[in-house]
Chain length 401, copies 2
């Protein structure tokens, strides 16, 4: 096991400058591995897009949950991030991040932790979509003597929470917040873009996401309410948007690692997937055409996100330890600590003795990463000749709530 000390936050490259002895042939399996060369490319791609679109990029750290990864998102100094849990908010506050959007609807039990973060100097932007939430946020702000900035969640595609921009209560909610000095802006998320199967559908989803958020902001402004933040984003729409006029910031999280669902949508290529799980062959059932590994659903998660896509990728595609795809080999079944690999498309099942190490590319990076305490880090450009890629560091994840 290689377990480097936590590298300093926001030094960008530092984490991978002090190689830890060993390679992927030495780590305990199953384990998660991040190829930092691929990750850097993914990060640069969306950063460039955000620059061209003239919006602030506020990465969602729910996928990677790592201060070490965040140092690549915001090299030099902490910047704006989005979180999915208060545990992430607290960990990122500990790491020096002071501009955090908590993008899950707020409820009253969470306010003490929210207020504690605010008292530490963190601008923690809350999300809500109802009169009752706006009321208790306004009341808590007055009681605490600290305005808690809140964004109104806007529904652009019927995916989850939020108000339609023409919803009767929108202006009233805005006014409650404004009167308590809490109105921060509007936020929407095109969750249905994960099911937009063509580039054109994704462009339309991005346009709709932008149009809906801007319409809501304009309606509030029309009622005399100032709207600072107009926040949109999802990994598919962030990569498809052509015009974000009126939008102030873009959110996305999955893009740092990508996965087979995103490759199935055409948002990335399979070779852009930066996260994989290292597994070891533990047996064979030639009569069934099975190779058994020690990577089951505990290591991959139960996510079968590609099941609904044109190409179902089972629990994942298989590569050798260096990251080269083994054509036609798929992880088709999973028990808790067993994975089953089978050949498809007429491929011949390769001979892989017990002890052979492989890597599995996941359906859904957010779900697979969550099964692990952290990531062994490799740099795709630093392959050893024999036993596999060198391990450069171990990056811990934030977990829990």
């Amino acid at each position: 096991m290689n377990a480097s000390a936590n590298p300093p936050v926001n030094t960008g490259e530092s984490s991978v400058c002090a190689p830890v002895a060993g390679t992927l042939a030495d780590v305990d399996t199953p384990c998660a591995v991040v190829d930092v060369a691929t990750m850097r490319r993914n990060i640069a791609r969306l950063a460039d897009r955000a620059d061209r679109l003239a919006v602030t990029l506020r990465p969602h750290v729910k996928t990677t949950k790592s201060l070490d990864v965040a140092a690549f998102l915001h090299p030099g100094a902490p910047g704006p991030v989005t979180v999915s849990t208060l545990a992430e908010a607290e960990a990122f506050a500990d790491g020096g991040y002071t501009d955090i959007t908590y993008a899950v609807g707020i409820e009253p039990y969470k306010l003490p932790r929210v207020i504690a973060l605010s008292r530490r100097g963190v601008t923690l932007r809350l999300l809500l979509d109802s009169y009752e939430q706006a009321s208790f946020v306004a009341e808590a702000s007055r009681e605490a003597g600290i305005p808690l900035p809140a964004q109104i969640e806007i529904d652009c595609d019927g995916h989850r929470g939020g108000l339609k921009p023409d919803a009767p209560g929108l202006v009233e909610i805005g006014r409650i917040l404004h009167d308590a000095r809490c109105l921060d802006g509007v936020l929407t998320h095109a969750g249905e873009s994960y099911f937009a199967r063509t580039a054109e559908e994704q462009r339309l989803a991005a346009k709709n996401e932008r149009d809906t958020a801007v319409a809501a902001a304009e309606r509030l402004r029309g009622a005399g309410l100032p709207v600072n933040v107009v926040s949109v984003g999802s990994t598919p729409t962030a990569h498809a948007a052509e015009d974000l006029t009126g939008v102030t910031e873009l959110r996305a999280g999955n893009y740092v690692f990508f996965d087979l669902v995103m490759a199935g949508l055409g948002v990335c290529r399979v070779e852009d997937i930066a996260l994989s799980v290292v597994v070891t062959v533990i047996g064979h059932r030639p009569e069934h055409g099975w190779i058994m590994t020690d990577g089951g659903w505990m290591a991959m998660s139960r996510d079968r996100g590609t099941a609904a896509q044109v190409q179902d990728q089972g629990y994942g595609l298989v590569t050798d330890l260096a990251g080269n795809l083994l054509p036609g080999l798929v992880m088709t079944a999973a028990s808790q600590e067993h994975g089953t690999l089978t050949a498809r498309d007429g491929a011949v099942l390769p001979e892989l003795p017990v002890g052979t190490r492989l890597r599995i590319l996941p359906n859904h990076a957010c779900a697979t990463a969550a099964q692990h305490r952290g990531y062994h880090v490799i740099d795709g450009t630093r392959l050893l000749g024999g036993p596999g890629p060198a391990t450069e560091a171990f990056w811990e994840r934030v977990s829990g709530w």
Copy 2:
């Protein structure tokens, strides 16, 4: 948050004797909760069966992964357990457990940790089903000067790994192990019993599991090889077996908590499910018939095990904080940190304001429990009148590999 010190191992009741102030209305959500009254009943039920069947019960701790739970399985002193990872084996060894079966096929990279456990005095029983595995286990035993006990995995139903009892290589594998003083026994697992939909099918699966293991043991004995352990088990077959003549031990893990998959098979009732996830209402979409909560797939897992059953339970059934089912309410969709509850079977969607706390009964206890660092513990018999069940302790889980 209530976080009691770890209670002493194997004092059975001690963990719940020193109440921690608070109730389920105080804990941060989402979180896992175990009702110890229900758990005790489940544990007693299978312990009684094992007594009647005259076999040793070797609980599989992969579901609960908790030394605190294990103290209820083996009150008074540590006893035999089954594990799914070396991390569990090491944690249980730390807790005083010295008789441990590692029920996943062994591969060479794991031998150093296996040998280290053996040197600590743990009898760590390995599993294998091939000539190559038997050879490296025998060689490692000779090199280390410690015989590593190994069981031959027998396939009783084509579910996963193992050799058929009439497989050509069985006796040769037994001989390699015996010659190195490693032959411990045979082990089988009726994994297909999870799809046996009637009590009669489950009885037949249990009979087949027993017959197959005994046949393999008899074949090895017929070749002059001593077989000490004849190990069978799965939660469905453990509750269906009527005769285990020739079997020495029974394994099962899920039964401690049970879940909706087991209830769907008729192995337990819904009211026997000891594990649930406490969630809080964060919003409403009346136009869709949705109640939104803060418990998504990160808290429940992506497991949809009931999807293939007669009654698909979505991501879980919903109870109030005291554990009373809310009839017709189902968690039908999940994002990472959002759950969607909807009404079915003509039920009216109840009025549950933002901040209402609920509990979700999971499809698959092993997968749901794995999403959490540990369990808040309640005792169903100690309900408070108002805010919900009292929290008695916090039990940590073993994680990772």
